[in-house]
């Protein structure tokens, strides 16, 4: 009789991803979080990132503790999903991505999600930063203590991408996701130094508190836009024509 696979079975099955492949995929997901404007894609990338980070946590933590990190990450993603769903769905003219006009082709509906006007600039910045950090992380002087090389690279890459994301946006949801990248990088480093259960719980609580605060700020931001208080830095949009 087949039994339900244990954590160790899953680790064995995903063995081909452990180490550098997980790091590269993690950085790719981080790049998507920072560069892509559409919240569903960015949130999906963040979720993938927590799954891949789980594989890296196994390198520094006992697997039963690493699974706690994974579960907290998934819970954070779920909280952000419900927040964004309430705040940005259905798309309104105030949404970061307003609804496509009637009669638009499928490509015209999808394209704005993938390629906002500054996507290329964001990708360029993120790639330059990643290149710089990859170079730095491989130098002996920049090797963090008690951290294996794939985790070292992930820490540098995620913290750099997170800080870049924070610098590029003032949307609470996007800034929150970027902040979570920084926190993930920090946890990868900190948990390789300190494995006490108390700190594990404290960091889990901090992650959930961050998700809660981001959720509140996102809802408040959307409500401010709906109630129509003008943001002085944004040019006013033309009122919808009464057809």
């Amino acid at each position: 009789m087949n039994s339900f696979p244990t954590i160790f079975d899953w680790i064995e099955r995903l063995d081909f991803l452990r180490g550098m492949p997980a790091t590269y995929l993690l950085l790719l997901a981080g790049l998507v979080v920072v560069a892509v404007w559409e919240w569903r894609i960015a949130l999906f990338a963040l979720t993938c990132q927590y799954l891949l980070a789980g594989l890296l946590f196994i390198e520094v933590l006992e697997p039963r503790l690493a699974i706690v990190k994974l579960l907290v990450g998934l819970f954070v993603s779920l909280m952000l999903y419900f927040t964004a769903r309430q705040a940005y769905w259905p798309p309104s003219p105030q949404s970061p991505l307003p609804p496509a006009p009637a009669g638009a082709s499928p490509w015209e509906r999808i394209a704005p999600m993938l390629a906002p006007h500054n996507l290329l600039f964001r990708i360029f910045l993120a790639l330059v930063l990643l290149l710089l950090l990859l170079t730095l992380a491989q130098r002996p002087g920049y090797q963090l203590p008690a951290v294996p090389p794939p985790v070292n690279l992930a820490i540098f890459g995620l913290s750099g991408l997170g800080l870049l994301g924070l610098a590029l946006t003032d949307n609470p949801l996007r800034a929150g996701m970027a902040l979570l990248l920084v926190m993930l990088a920090f946890e990868l480093f900190y948990n390789s130094l300190e494995q006490s259960v108390l700190m594990l719980i404290a960091l889990a609580v901090v992650n959930l508190a961050i998700a809660l605060a981001v959720g509140y700020l996102t809802q408040a931001h959307t409500r401010a836009q709906v109630t129509g208080e003008a943001d002085p830095r944004v040019a006013p949009t033309a009122p919808p024509s009464a057809e």
Binding site: H221, A224, D231
Partner: protein, 479 residues
């Protein structure tokens, strides 16, 4: 009963916050009154407990697998926290308008949000005080800040941006402080240079030091004034106590004078930025934010003095709470729309506005720490201590105070003008009844309370000895 004290301190405010959150918002005054009553009763209960800190330095408990510690100093700080919050709740109960935003756009009152979030923030703040090491406390402080940022109007994009910045900076402080704490606890003092740099960055992010101060002015300009004494008075008190504890737990920092020197210059930089910004106020909120920055810089300077700085820091925080209370009451009164009901509205203007203006201006001057205000005792104590250590920071702080005072005097009429005009007008004939109802003179009890507050402030300014003795005793407990 004493065995369950930490559980009571940690669980009761959280439960009360949950109840306050579940109550309908139309009962906001009742909720605030209930919250105030609960905190006053709790304060009286704590005061009646037979805890003798003169016999034992600290009382320890084991709860949830964790040791909790109460010293004479933290015990007094807890009392102040509950009492200070109760005063703010009482203010909301009798004067819900104090929970409205400073921004010019009208917004709904935030009284119920303030009560539930204020009560919820008390739990992590108390827990941070009672943890035996400062290492784990930083996560709890972050949780308290996360809860505190929810007390702001949801209708203002600018307020959201300010809260987001504060939240980001406070969160970014966590990794630096945790890493420094780990390095110290694992006795890796060979990296002492890294530790003090991490601590310095962590303090700058957490205490709004230059250049991480950018959220302060916009938060002050857009948040409800009631949030200011809570956030910059009570929460900041815990942050500063945390800072002093961290310094005391790391005596190796004594041998790194550059840490204290840089921390002092960080405070000087923040104060100077405050003085410069006082000359560029776009509105009254930003002017107040600039003055507050100067005061925040002063408290960072007090932190840089180590254990001797605890007394001036406590004096500064106490007077800041009181000054912000004066400003809050003055501003709310100034914004109160009233219908004189007489032939000469200006007669009312003459009799009412000067009191409100005096409260606002006196509170602002007290934030600057000028003589004959409650803020002077703390600022003078700080200046004399800093000057004894190194002259230049003291001189620059003095010059910054003079510059900010000049900025306040020059720009005050301009930023006060919008407040002076509309409320003094009689409602137009045919205006909706709701407006007429709102346009009432400020009730006499509120006027009496406000004027009483001003009188207390003046008495405190003229006779600061009791406050100074209290701060000295508390500083002795904390060091």
């Amino acid at each position: 009963m004493l065995q369950s004290l930490p559980a009571l301190l940690l669980i009761l405010p959280l439960l009360a916050a949950l109840v306050a959150w579940l109550l309908p918002s139309r009962w906001s005054r009742g909720t605030a009154g209930g919250g105030a009553l609960l905190l006053v009763l709790f304060y009286l209960y704590l005061a009646s407990l037979p805890l003798d800190f003169s016999a034992t330095a600290a009382v320890e408990w084991e709860l949830w697998g964790q040791t909790w510690l109460l010293t004479g100093g933290t015990w007094t700080i807890l009392h102040l926290l509950y009492l200070g919050t109760a005063v703010l709740f009482l203010l909301v109960t009798f004067w819900p308008a104090t929970a409205r935003s400073l921004a010019s756009t009208p917004s709904s009152s935030l009284s119920s949000e303030f009560v539930s979030a204020g009560l919820a923030a008390l739990t992590p703040l108390a827990a941070a005080l009672m943890l035996p090491t400062a290492l784990g406390a930083v996560a709890l402080l972050l949780a308290a800040i996360c809860v505190s940022i929810m007390i702001r109007p949801a209708t203002s994009a600018a307020s959201g941006r300010a809260a987001l910045r504060y939240f980001i900076f406070a969160t970014l402080a966590l990794p630096f402080l945790l890493l420094a704490g780990w390095m110290v606890s694992s006795e890796q003092l060979v990296f002492a240079g890294v530790v003090w740099r991490l601590l310095l960055l962590g303090f700058a992010l957490l205490l709004a030091g230059f250049p991480f101060h950018i959220w302060v002015r916009s938060l002050v300009a857009t948040a409800p004034p009631l949030l200011l004494p809570f956030l910059f008075g009570l929460v900041h008190l815990i942050l500063l106590v945390y800072g002093f504890r961290l310094l005391q737990e790391n005596p190796f920092l004594e041998s790194t004078p550059q840490f204290y020197a840089l921390l002092r210059w960080l405070g000087v930089g923040t104060a100077v930025v405050g003085a410069i910004l006082a000359w560029k106020p776009r509105d009254r909120g930003r002017l107040l934010g600039a003055l507050l920055l100067l005061d925040l810089g002063s408290s960072i300077m007090a932190l840089s003095l180590g254990a001797p700085g605890i007394r001036p820091a406590l004096l500064l925080i106490h007077s800041r709470y009181f000054s912000l209370l004066l400003v809050l009451v003055g501003l709310t009164w100034l914004r109160h729309p009233f219908h004189p009901g007489t032939e000469s509205p200006s007669a009312h203007a003459v009799s009412q506005v000067p009191w409100a203006s005096t409260l606002f201006v006196y509170g602002s001057l007290s934030l600057l720490g000028l003589p004959l205000t409650p803020g002077f005792a703390g600022r003078w104590a700080l200046l004399s201590l800093v000057a004894a250590n190194s002259l230049w920071p003291a001189v620059i702080l003095l010059l910054a105070t003079v510059a900010a005072t000049a900025g306040l005097i020059v720009h005050l009429p301009a930023v006060m003008r919008p407040l002076m005009r509309p409320p003094l007008m009689r409602p137009l004939p045919g205006s909706p009844p709701a407006d007429l109802e709102a346009a009432q003179p400020l009730p006499s009890p509120l006027q009496v309370i406000s004027i009483l507050l001003l009188v207390i402030a003046i008495i405190l300014a003229l006779f600061p000895a009791p406050l100074m003795t209290f701060a000295a005793r508390l500083a002795q407990h904390l060091s």
